[in-house]
Symmetry: C2
């Protein structure tokens, strides 16, 4: 009875995103998704552990795109290592993925529990990046400050990348945001 459906995973994902966007994430069941592309609920669960996994799978690959670059980086200041990792990881989001990312983001923004999950994903990324810096001998608090600043740059840049009319690649936006971060933090006069 267990047949392999060629392309089933991609069809299920596309159908899921469309239904999440049009009907709402909470209002869509796995059975709805499967039925909309002529597959069974059972087939859905062969490909995805649950409804959320359609949106959040690939988390390990996403984190590795950043963390592996930190581990493999040549000698450099902590923020230089982070900056190169963040800009390098933008390969993960090529321009063809922009429409998918816009749709995915709109689904996440519309649902508080998905939004929480996305925020926690960013925190997990910052923690793994800080650990990767410490493994290179970077002390605290420099490791956490550089890693969290890297996630700030990624998050701000990613949102800009998805904004209407934006023409630049994610890497270009990240380079500009890194320069903005330097200017912003430089302008902190001694605090009270």
């Amino acid at each position: 009875m267990v047949r392999w459906e060629p392309g089933a995973r991609d069809r299920l994902r596309a159908a899921a995103l469309e239904l999440y966007a049009s009907r709402g994430f909470d209002e869509t069941t796995a059975a709805d998704i499967a039925a909309s592309v002529g597959l069974s609920e059972r087939t859905f669960f062969r490909h995805f552990a649950d409804k959320r996994e359609v949106i959040f799978n690939g988390q390990d690959e996403f984190e590795s795109a950043f963390v592996d670059r930190i581990a493999a980086a040549p000698e450099g200041s902590p923020m230089n290592v982070i900056a190169n990792a963040v800009v390098g990881a933008s390969d993960f989001f090529d321009t063809r993925q922009r429409d998918y990312s816009i749709l995915r983001q709109s689904i996440i923004e519309a649902n508080p529990s998905l939004r929480e999950r996305e925020l926690l994903k960013m925190t997990a990324l910052a923690e793994r990046m800080a650990a990767a810096l410490r493994a290179r001998g970077v002390a605290e608090p420099q490791a956490s400050l550089a890693a969290q600043s890297g996630v700030t740059v990624f998050g701000v840049s990613f949102r800009l990348w998805l904004s209407p009319g934006e023409q630049r690649s994610l890497a270009e936006i990240e380079r500009a945001t890194l320069a903005d971060l330097r200017s912003v933090t430089l302008e902190a006069a001694p605090a009270v």
Copy 2:
């Protein structure tokens, strides 16, 4: 039947933290907490909406300690306004509160759902701080970069403040961390 118990709220809070720490948050019921100080479960729920609220109440005052200072700040660069707000808000955590904060933190670290809530609290703070900067005419992405950097400085400093043997006040640590953040971000050479 509804009597006002003098000091009940403080006694319930102290008992709750002790039980959360010794027995675990999930393993402690509101009835356990109330019984341990000779009060009824009903009294517990007159003071706290649920078990989590013992740990997370005061969120509005916490955020206001930062945001009100941003709104009231004199002219200054975005990061200067943020730095002064973060250091100023350290009043919220005076040294007498350190033991309470250490206990609270250990309870949160031991429980994934409490940890998530705490992380989301920090994101909410960053979003409110960015909005307060925009209300002063600060453009994006500068508002988000300054606000998120402020939360990074607060988070890193707060963790240091609670570490064993730390003698400095939270404000002193925050000033040092702000200087560290400036050094770290300055050292980002142009990215690939």
